[in-house]
């Protein structure tokens, strides 16, 4: 326990804001330093997607962007994220951090609210099996899962996926299912015995941080179909909403427009001050600190620590154990949906989840099923093997029948996956060198699991078009973790203790994914938030 009840937090993403909220509830004074690029004001907040296209003065400008950056042209050869122009601010300026990359394509966010300003809100608690390598069990995290759920509103229900996901407190009633998802559920109910017993496959409702009822200023989802472009009702949770809540607290100070460069290290190995620069190459500021919590996201946090060590000792450290979930997209066509009308008044993201069990609970495979609703169609139409007019007609005729399973795989820490500062990188150019080599058994694991996913889809009455499965590059899932693993053993110079306190710098807490010793297949952010809250509750 420290007696000085002040803490300086870097970053306003999911990790930073929930750390800060718990710290404030304990009576701490919290100062949050953040680059904090801000979202544009939502246009026509009450309008649904069709009204937007119908009534905006420049609809193509809104959907495709001022320089048409939202158009996916056929010669685009990088990973396509489908980020709309209204979310450009989330990833702005990230390229400055990417140095030479081998086997890894990272995204960086300097937005107020972080990367989760563009997320799809999947929130899944880890179970005891998945927490085996962590220095605590589910029971210790459970109150924080419940608390975060209370703060942000998570929908879900006890169903067949419950065998993989513990039920925590404060779950809201799920969002209503769209016709396509409902049809998949009905098919699952008919084939349950085969799917469960032969394939070890289970279907259920996703847990999503999207409101099914009003909560304070945020309104329940009314199916505007604008989720991708930014929910104007605040139904879909983003951490910038929590920043607004925190700003009403007397003990909270938000310093936006500041980029943390490094911390100063005193003689006793403690951080004495944070060195930050005003965004846009402005003034350097020195912010004295007695307790520093880095929540800048795994890679930017690593950059801050590496630069601090470099500045203090001249040492260039290589951090090993970088993890990310491999994701594979499996598109499908639900034959029974042909001829059904397309309904733009729908929630856009995944309402169903698919779990593949494994005797080793750490090897659980997690899928999120999104039935296609209001996304732009030109990226899909151009992939069909016909002229664009024919492809357009085929896509239109199958619009209500299309969907995709985003299949996620676990990852573990390995020595050959590392991060270091690029040679020549200094305070002005914080570029990271990153190397990632997939685990030797990955091809076998993917092959087996994807075969099962295709069999599940077939059993549900769906066709998987040949050749359209997409293996996303590492880095694309944006669930980065593992560079400063938390352990109880005290091993490893660059590890942290169970309270995410760095072993080298006793007053520096790392409260994002940096400290995760293992990365289950389930989307990580809910656990980032719960763990950040746990650290504030236990370590401060």
């Amino acid at each position: 326990m420290v007696s000085d009840r002040r803490v300086l937090v870097v970053g306003s993403g999911p990790s930073g804001v929930h750390f800060a909220q718990t710290a404030l509830s304990k009576g701490y004074q919290v100062t949050m330093v953040d680059v904090g690029r801000e979202a544009p004001t939502p246009v026509m907040p009450e309008a649904d997607l069709v009204q937007l296209k119908e009534e905006l003065a420049d609809p193509a400008g809104y959907f495709l962007g001022g320089s048409y950056e939202g158009v996916l042209l056929p010669d685009f050869d990088k990973e396509y994220y489908g980020t709309p122009p209204s979310k450009n601010y989330v990833f702005e300026d990230g390229a400055r951090f990417a140095g030479s990359l081998e086997g890894f394509e990272p995204l960086f966010s300097f937005a107020r609210g972080g990367m989760a300003e563009a997320w799809t809100a999947g929130c899944y608690p880890f179970n005891d099996g998945e927490l085996t390598d962590f220095p605590f069990s589910y029971a210790r995290l459970a109150p924080h899962y419940g608390e975060v759920a209370r703060r942000i509103g998570i929908t879900g229900e006890p169903d067949d996926l419950g065998r993989f996901m513990p039920l925590h407190e404060h779950l809201l009633q799920p969002l209503p299912l769209d016709t396509h998802s409902l049809r998949l559920v009905r098919a699952y109910e008919r084939k349950r015995a085969y799917l469960n017993e032969t394939l070890g496959a289970y279907l259920g409702r996703t847990r999503v941080a999207t409101l099914s009822r009003d909560m304070d200023e945020r309104k329940a989802c009314t199916k505007l179909g604008r989720c991708l472009w930014g929910c104007p009702r605040g139904a879909l949770y983003t951490p910038s909403q929590t920043v607004r809540t925190l700003q009403r607290h007397d003990g909270f100070r938000y310093l936006g427009g500041l980029e943390a460069l490094r911390f100063q290290i005193g003689d006793n190995g403690r951080a004495t001050a944070l060195i930050a620069r005003q965004v846009g190459g402005g003034e350097i500021q020195t912010l004295p600190t007695s307790q520093l919590a880095l929540a800048a996201g795994t890679l930017p946090t690593a950059a801050i620590v590496l630069r601090s060590i470099l500045a203090a000792t001249g040492e260039r450290v290589r951090l090993t154990g970088l993890m990310d979930n491999r994701q594979v997209l499996v598109p499908f066509l639900n034959v029974g949906m042909l001829g059904r009308p397309y309904d733009p008044a729908s929630y856009q993201y995944h309402l169903l989840g698919l779990g593949l069990s494994d005797p080793d609970p750490r090897a659980y495979v997690h899928g999120q099923i999104t039935t296609l609703k209001t996304a732009l169609l030109h990226p899909i139409i151009q992939q069909l093997p016909f002229d664009l007019r024919t492809s357009l007609l085929v896509a239109r005729a199958t619009h209500s029948a299309l969907g995709v399973v985003n299949v996620n795989f676990h990852d573990s820490r390995r020595g050959d996956n590392w991060v270091e500062l690029e040679e020549g990188a200094d305070m002005e150019s914080p570029r990271l060198r990153i190397r990632y080599v997939p685990a030797a058994d990955e091809p076998g694991r993917l092959h087996a699991a994807l075969g099962k996913v295709r069999r599940v889809l077939r059993a549900l009455g769906c066709v998987v078009p040949p050749g359209m499965q997409h293996l996303r590059p590492m880095g694309a899932s944006v669930h980065y973790a593992g560079l400063f693993p938390m352990t109880t053993s005290g091993d490893g110079r660059w590890g942290t203790d169970e309270h995410c306190r760095t072993r080298e710098f006793s007053n520096v807490l790392l409260v994002d994914g940096s400290t995760f010793p293992f990365l289950p297949a389930k989307n990580v952010t809910f656990t980032l938030m719960a763990n950040a809250s746990r650290v504030a509750a236990e370590a401060l």
Partner: protein, 148 residues
């Protein structure tokens, strides 16, 4: 980017009729032109790339054949880029987005039949495209070899 607005507007009309069976609105035309002004990615290189765009401008039917060929043999070429750009503009603009998003409700059997007929027409267009444009491709191959 310097572009010939008359040519681009005329091309926009033909391509819009190909994609959605209707003439382009002034809004769509302006957006299409603006995108051409902003980026050099829609300027065809010489050879087949340029010939395909020139031929595709003749009429919507020819656009279909040229595009069917381009999908198979020049999927990243300028003709495809122009058509995808226009499709993106149309799917976000009134009144065309409806023609792209919405399918009339049909019985399952009628929907399947409609799909089969549409795909057959698409395969037909591709066959015609291959026959019509293959000589162009072969000629280009010969030119390239002579140039080496």
């Amino acid at each position: 980017m310097k572009v010939d607005p008359t040519l681009i507007e005329q091309e926009c009309h033909v391509f819009t009729r190909f994609l959605v069976r209707a003439p382009a609105t002034p809004y769509v035309r302006d957006k299409y032109l603006e995108a051409h002004r902003l980026s050099g990615t829609f300027v065809p290189a010489a050879g087949v790339d340029s010939a395909l765009v020139t031929v595709a401008r003749w009429s919507p039917a020819v656009t279909r054949v040229a595009d069917a060929y381009a999908r198979l043999c020049a999927p990243r070429g300028v003709l495809r880029r122009k058509l995808v750009l226009l499709l993106a503009i149309l799917e976000t603009s009134p009144p065309f987005f409806r023609a792209i998003d919405y399918e009339p409700s049909r019985s399952w059997a009628m929907a399947s039949l409609h799909l089969a007929v549409t795909a057959t027409i698409g395969i037909g267009a591709a066959a015609v495209g291959m026959i019509a444009f293959l000589p162009l491709r072969l000629t280009e191959g010969v030119w390239k070899r002579r140039g080496e």
